[in-house]
Amino acid sequence: MKGYKKYFLNKLLWFVITLVAAVILNFILPRLMPGDPVAGIVARLAQGMSSSTGMKAVYEKYAELFGINKPLLTQFFLYVKNIFQGNFGSSFTQYPRPVLDIIKSSIWWTVCLQFPAIIVGWIIGNTLGAIAAYVKKGFDKVILPISILIGNLPAFGVAVILLVIFAVDLKWFPTSGGYGFDLIPTMSWQFVWSVIVHYQLPFWSIVLVAIGGQAIGMRSMSIYELNADYVKYARFMGIKDRKIVGYVFRNAMLPQVTGLALSIGTMVGGALVAEIIFSYPGLGYMLLQGILGQDYPLISAVTLIITLMVLIANFAIELIYGLIDPRIKAAQAE
């Protein structure tokens, strides 16, 4: 277990470093742009406000929150302090609702939608890719082109097509929202059922996109492994084909796990756009609301949370990978 501990500490350190870098970027990117961010914010916020004293008060409130007149470093520490206290300021578009409140209400929609969808897509995609590689003739000819085609459809394209077919034309599922607009979130059967029904289309659109991408990668990985020397040797030792196929898929899947860690950021990006298409009340939709309303505190918080989620997912995958691939332990023990 010594090797794994070293690996774990290594990954943990890396997680902390990336987190710090992400926070710095989130802080600095908007500030690199010319102009006084608070002035912009206030101009937007004070629309329709006639008293200049009122405007001044708003300005000062935000100037204090952002520490605009202090040196950049002080501003940064203020920013970090605010994050730790969960103080992301108030949303402009839903003033005076705190941004933290909005995030709290939308984050679970996103987590519960994207996490299972990406995992399910990953599993189905890898299974199909493996089958395509193994069966090759016939099946491969069907699965591969379909995967390439779906893999090339943008996430929002798949979302729109599913929406039009299953919600608009067939009317099997609702077109938008996380639950019926006439319901109040409670633990009633009616509400749960409504959530399940609203969940289907966004879920499957993310799954489909993930399948397309994963199947192609798994197929080439499996073909590569099927030609490996150990396959030949195992056959010569009289091991059953089914067992060998087991070897191959396990070995081909391992790089796919790392692949998932590397591509999860991109996948989440695509899935956020899918949320928007279905007006699903998650972070993607909140981000859209923030952008439409020039709601700077909301955008800043949502991007930070998304980054944090991706980093955690990434970290978790790396840890699991270290457990399932013996090569990691061996490499660390050297």
Partner: protein, 417 residues
């Protein structure tokens, strides 16, 4: 070189991808030679005109050549275009609601159905359980079926400027036809118009052009950065490698989508041109190229020909240019192709979020998608506003991926089947 190209063009996948891509490129080049309208010109008053041929009514009426054609199915066509089966069923429903026994209503007999309708329908009457929208629908239906069975023509009248009264100047009979070639103004809108009343096809062609440009600019920016960093990191090694890989690994896990959103938002709507967006996309997507180039360079670094060049005292620049670049050229081309297609997707995603290029200058595929979504084209069933856009994006990325797979199979024989 020539042999490599020959090999590449023997790959079926590459050819299919190449042909699709060239077809798109040709469309972008040739279409504007024939249709010279500005791509963002608003030609229609109203939203989402369906695809089809639009014939000017004024010109048709005033045409000098009127042809009489006695076609047997003309009357039937006329009725069915105004009174669909759904309409008939709706009428039946109303009549039943009004108290007419169901067995007296025959929806297939137009004359008796209309007769019943005329006798019983009263726009003021309230049928229980009918919502307002339905009531309005029946009023519209009633208007459209008025005179549907008439065999008379329509009278054309003009205002007499002296007397101030309308005077008959002619009639249009039901069997009058014009030849479409003789009508002065006919406009084909193969993909209809969008929410603003712009010709979707013209807009789409321009959008493909702009999106391809964005893809190329972003791809080239990303590839140049990635290539430079990858070469430096792989060839020089040591602390340079450590530094570059540190930064690269950072940007691999921090989602580029988030960076894109932050930067685009910070730039502000007014400053966001298509080129700016392209550069921003390029600046956030170089990591993959860096990784790929670096690993290639590392495997090349200690090859004999490189060592020989080092012993001969060539400069680093010379070695990279002559002994390394030619060997990784194929990988760089593949990486560039992938960058281009993912940049086009990135632009589309950004635009859907409302962070794409500013809307008043040129259309992009993402902006068209964004407009269609904002105006709910997908829910209203206006497929022509969004479906061609999705198809265009899919064709671009599909063709590029096919070319890439083809190249991969040529340069990476293990993947051949």
């Amino acid at each position: 070189m020539k042999q490599t190209l020959q090999q590449v063009f023997h790959s079926g996948k590459f050819i299919v991808g190449f042909v699709i891509f060239m077809a798109l490129l040709l469309l972008v080049i040739i279409y504007p030679l024939f249709i010279k309208d500005a791509p963002l010109a608003i030609i229609a008053q109203g939203s989402f005109f369906p695809p089809g041929t639009y014939v000017n009514i004024y010109d048709s009426i005033n045409t000098t050549d009127i042809y009489t054609l006695n076609l047997q199915d003309a009357a039937a066509n006329r009725i069915s275009s105004k009174l669909s089966n759904d309409d008939r069923e709706a009428m039946k429903e109303w009549l039943i609601g009004d108290g007419v026994p169901a067995d007296q209503i025959d929806t297939s007999d137009t004359a008796s159905l209309l007769d019943l309708w005329e006798k019983n329908y009263d726009p003021q009457k309230n049928i229980p359980g009918m919502i307002f929208a339905q009531k309005r629908y029946y009023q519209r239906l009633n208007d459209s079926v008025q005179g549907i069975l008439s065999t008379e023509g329509e009278i054309l009248a003009a205002l007499n400027p002296e007397t101030g009264t309308l005077e008959q100047i002619g009639t249009v009979n039901q069997s009058d036809y014009v030849n479409i070639d003789q009508v002065a103004n006919v406009r084909v809108l193969p993909l209809g118009t969008d929410n603003f009343g712009r010709d979707v096809l013209t807009e789409l062609v321009k959008a493909i052009e702009v999106s391809l440009e964005i893809g190329f600019v972003a791809g080239i920016v990303a590839t140049l950065i990635g290539l430079t960093l990858g070469l430096l990191s792989g060839y020089i090694g040591g602390w340079v490698d450590d530094m570059i890989m540190f930064v690269t690994n950072l940007f691999t896990v921090i989602p580029s989508f988030v960076l894109l959103v932050l930067i685009s938002f910070s730039i502000g709507q007014e400053q966001r041109g298509a080129v700016t967006i392209a550069i921003v996309i390029g600046l956030t997507s170089w990591v993959w190229t860096t990784r790929a180039v670096r690993s290639q360079v590392i495997s090349l670094r200690n090859r004999d020909h490189v060592n020989l060049s080092k012993i001969a005292g060539h400069s680093i620049f010379h070695i990279i240019l002559n002994d390394i670049l030619p060997y990784i050229a194929s990988y760089v081309v593949m990486a560039l192709i992938l960058q281009i297609s993912s940049a086009i997707l990135a632009e589309a995603s950004l635009s859907i979020l409302g962070l794409g290029p500013k809307t008043s200058v040129v259309p992009t595929l993402g902006l068209m998608m964004n407009w269609a979504m904002i105006y709910q084209a997908e829910i209203l069933g206006k497929w022509w506003a969004y479906f061609p856009v999705i198809v265009a994006i899919a064709l671009i990325t599909f063709s590029m991926n096919l070319m890439n797979t083809g190249l991969d199979q040529v340069f990476n024989p293990a993947l051949r089947d």
